[in-house]
Structures are given as structure tokens and as C-alpha cells.
């Protein structure tokens, strides 16, 4: 498995926990009070409860079931039923490699994480799920222009293919460019993580958010699914 985007940095605020799926890999992604992001197998080492149901306590993630606490290194350091006990070092959450770069959280469940270098500084737009395979989503976002921002004169370029990252660059100085990193959830679900170049105004970002929704509808319609 390759490096994959799982969230925009904006959408995982401190003390939040989320679930993310990459094929068969089910993970809990969380941000500690001081801002450290971790991605773990979504399974508590105690009895297998999903860690994405847990809650953040300072620099630890506490399991929702019996409250075992795991620190940012994944080590269990506190068991509420046995407060005096120092838990054995072997009790550890299964952690994946993670990196935060270009406003996106990237994970590799099986190897080293290699975030895609998005050339310029960016502002977050949104992460939007599309009920179709990643190639159809890529195709949809390459083709559909926006009347004022991403016009017919926009150049669409795939700047990475594992994972896919699409750069949409309109012709003309000062125009707003868009980067889209595609998360392969499974063969029928793709999430497009969308950012824009930092010259985008708030109204531009709102317009891009609406554009993404339209592209999703059109793409799902032509793929024969409509949710």
C-alpha cells in the first residue's frame, strides 16, 4: 500500500478523533491537545474496541470501552481498573507512519510515508467523498471547469500517481489554482481532498466548495450511481 491522504489538517482539530479507511485498513486518526497527529489500527489492544470511538485526554487517547490510555507513541500507560499498575511495555497500539504536509494528513499503513510535495502554500477547501473508483473521480475533476475560477483555459496535470494528485492551473496571473489529492477508500468510494493556492479569497473558496459538489454529482451520474 502507498501513502494516502486521509484528511485536510483543518478538519482534524485538537482533541478530535476520526475514523479513516484505506482498503482493508481501518484506522483511528487523532490529534492531541498539543497538536500531535497519530494514525493507529482501529482496534484497542485490550478487547478490540474501535479506537475511533475513543476520546482525547491531553496527550493520550483513551479507549471508550474500559478507558485504557495510550500515549502518542502508542504505548498503554494507564489502566483505570488498576491505577497502581504500570502496564507492560508490550501493550501498544499498532501505529502507522504519518506526516502532515501542505495542509493534508498523509498515512502509509505498510511502509514509510512520503507526502506529495504540493508546490505552493495552500488554503483548505474541503474533503468530499464520491461514490466511484478513483480513476473516475480523477477524470471528473480534470474535465469540469468553473465559469469564473477554473475556466476552459485551465491546465489539468496529474502531478503524482501514487496516490493521485491533480493540479488545476488556470492561465493568467493571479488566477486561483487548485490541488486535489485522491484517497482510495475502496473500489466504489474515493475522497477528494481539495486545497487552493493561497491567493484564493473566502468567496473563491466557497465557490470551489460548490464546484466540487457539482463535479461530484456529475461524476456519480455518469458513473451510473447517484446517491
Amino acid at each position: 500500500m502507498s501513502t494516502q491522504p486521509v484528511s485536510l489538517s483543518r478538519d482534524l482539530t485538537i482533541k478530535q478523533v476520526m475514523r479513516a479507511e484505506l482498503g482493508d485498513v481501518d484506522m483511528a486518526v487523532w490529534r492531541s491537545a498539543s497538536g500531535v497527529v497519530s494514525a493507529w489500527e482501529n482496534r484497542c489492544p485490550h478487547r478490540g474496541m474501535r479506537l475511533s470511538h475513543g476520546f482525547v485526554r491531553g496527550e493520550s487517547l483513551a479507549c471508550a470501552y474500559h478507558g485504557w490510555h495510550y500515549n502518542c507513541a502508542g504505548a498503554c500507560h494507564y489502566i483505570p481498573a488498576h491505577p497502581e499498575l504500570a502496564p507492560p511495555k508490550t501493550i501498544k497500539a499498532n501505529a502507522y507512519n504519518i506526516a502532515e504536509a501542505s495542509g493534508i494528513i498523509w498515512v502509509n499503513a505498510t511502509g514509510n510515508v512520503a507526502p506529495i510535495d504540493i508546490p505552493s502554500s495552500t488554503v483548505p477547501v474541503r474533503s468530499i467523498p464520491i461514490a466511484c473508483p478513483v480513476e473516475s473521480a480523477l477524470n471528473g475533476f480534470s474535465k469540469h471547469t468553473h465559469q469564473s475560477l477554473l475556466t476552459q483555459h485551465t491546465q489539468a496535470e496529474i502531478i503524482a500517481d501514487t496516490p493521485y494528485v491533480l493540479a488545476l492551473t488556470p492561465v493568467g496571473s493571479n488566477s486561483v489554482g487548485v490541488y486535489i489529492a485522491f484517497q482510495h477508500v475502496n473500489d466504489s468510494t474515493t475522497v477528494a481532498h481539495i486545497t487552493a493556492t493561497d491567493n484564493a479569497s473566502m468567496n473563491d473558496v466557497v465557490a470551489l466548495s460548490r464546484w466540487a459538489n457539482e463535479v461530484r454529482d456529475i461524476t456519480e451520474f455518469s458513473a451510473g450511481v447517484s446517491e
Binding site: S7, L8, D11, T13, K15, Q16, M18, R19, A20, E21, F55, V56, R57, G58, E59, S60, A62, A64, G67, H69, H77, Y78, P80, P83, V125, R126, S127, P129, V185, T189, V191, M202, V205, V206, S209, R210, N213, E227
Partner: protein, 220 residues
């Protein structure tokens, strides 16, 4: 004015009223109704009180309300002296609040019905309800995404209104209907902010944001 709430603990519409009352520190009396399996809300005596045969019902003196949105307005108008929950001094925000209250009753018809089907085996066209529910979640996600881009944390502005409470219940309960929040980051953040409100109340399926509680363990 104090009131009696004819209530069922697992009902999302009843929960809306309990939640707002708790947030505004309003005390009231609960009359538990045996909705399931007793179907007490379809009994002749209950139908005499509420001809629709639905829960919740709010009773206060001669006032009888049978719609949860009306109850939220009734409570907020009397108990929120700042007029933020029912924003009568802001035309734009008030209109938005009414609009999203309307949307909240659509959520009862989609996610609420799908949840009854999933949890209590109510006969229903599950596939149609599932599609409608996803459409509604997407509509909410689109709006909340735009709100947060504009720096507005809640449905109608920077402050929560009764519409947030009304839409919160079935959105938060959607996993009971088999619809998780994983792919809806805007909804996830908004649910989290509501759960962090001072005085937040839980129900089965909706838990508090423990992380805001005082840390009473030795950990960290």
C-alpha cells in the same frame, strides 16, 4: 413557565427538547410514555392529547405543543434572555433558523424513519430512505462546509440556535441507522462543537465530548 414533557428516552425528537432545556437550565417534569413496545402514544387517551399520535408532547397549563420545533421556540423565547437561540433581533439569522428548523423535520422523515427501521424492524422502503438520508447529510455537509469557510461555527452564524439543536439529534444518531460520519468532516466538526457546549446532555447513542470534562484520572 414550567412544563411537563411526555417523553420517550430513545426518541430523537424528545431528546431535542431535553437537550435545549438542559442547556438553558430549565427544569421540567418528565412523563415517560411506553412508545415501544407498548405503543402507548397510539392509545385513545394519548390521542385525545395529541391527535397525531406522536412524541414528544409539551404541556404547560392550557398550552399543548405537539411539534418539537415549536417546543424549542417556546422554551428559548422564554428562557434565553440574550436572544441568541431564537434570534428575534436579527432578521437574517432568524429566517435561517426557521429554514433549518424545516430541514430538521425532513431529517425525522429520512434518518429518523431509517433508524426506526434499523433498530425496531419497522417495515419501510429502506433503500429509498437510505438515499434520502444520504441526500440530507450531503446537503447539511455542504452548508456546514461553507459556514466554516466563512468562520461561522454553527448552522445560522457564530452562535448556536434552536435549529442546531433540532438538526443535531438525528444527524448525531445517524450511525444507529447505519450511516456513519466518517466521510462528512464538516458534520463531524459541528457535532463535536455541540457536544462541547456547556450543559450538554447525552442520550443512548449520543455521548458527551469527554475531553472537555475535568480530568479526574491520574493520566497524561
Amino acid at each position: 413557565m414550567s412544563f411537563t414533557l411526555h417523553d420517550y428516552v430513545l426518541s430523537g425528537n424528545c431528546y431535542k427538547v431535553r437537550l435545549l432545556a438542559q442547556l438553558l437550565e430549565v427544569s421540567y417534569t418528565i412523563n415517560p410514555v411506553d412508545f415501544h413496545p407498548g405503543k402507548a402514544h397510539k392509545s385513545p387517551s394519548f390521542l385525545a392529547l395529541n391527535p397525531h399520535g406522536t412524541l414528544p408532547v409539551l404541556e404547560s397549563g392550557d398550552t399543548v405543543l405537539t411539534d418539537s420545533a415549536a417546543m424549542l421556540v417556546w422554551i428559548a423565547q422564554q428562557h434565553d434572555k440574550q436572544h441568541t437561540w431564537w434570534p428575534i433581533n436579527d432578521a437574517e439569522c432568524l429566517a435561517m433558523t426557521v429554514q433549518w428548523l424545516g430541514f430538521s423535520s425532513q431529517l425525522t422523515e429520512s434518518i429518523g424513519q431509517l433508524r426506526l427501521h434499523t433498530m425496531l424492524n419497522r417495515p419501510a422502503d429502506a433503500e429509498t430512505l437510505r438515499r434520502q438520508s444520504i441526500r440530507h447529510l450531503r446537503e447539511l455537509e455542504n452548508h456546514l462546509t461553507e459556514q466554516s469557510i466563512r468562520g461561522q461555527a454553527f448552522l445560522c452564524g457564530k452562535q448556536p440556535t434552536v435549529a442546531d439543536i433540532a438538526c443535531f439529534a438525528y444527524t448525531a444518531l445517524s450511525p444507529d441507522a447505519g450511516l456513519e460520519h466518517t466521510l462528512y468532516p464538516g458534520i463531524r466538526g459541528w457535532l463535536h462543537r455541540i457536544r462541547c457546549l456547556e450543559g450538554f446532555l447525552t442520550m443512548p447513542g449520543i455521548y458527551e465530548a469527554h475531553e472537555t470534562r475535568n480530568e479526574h484520572t491520574a493520566a497524561s
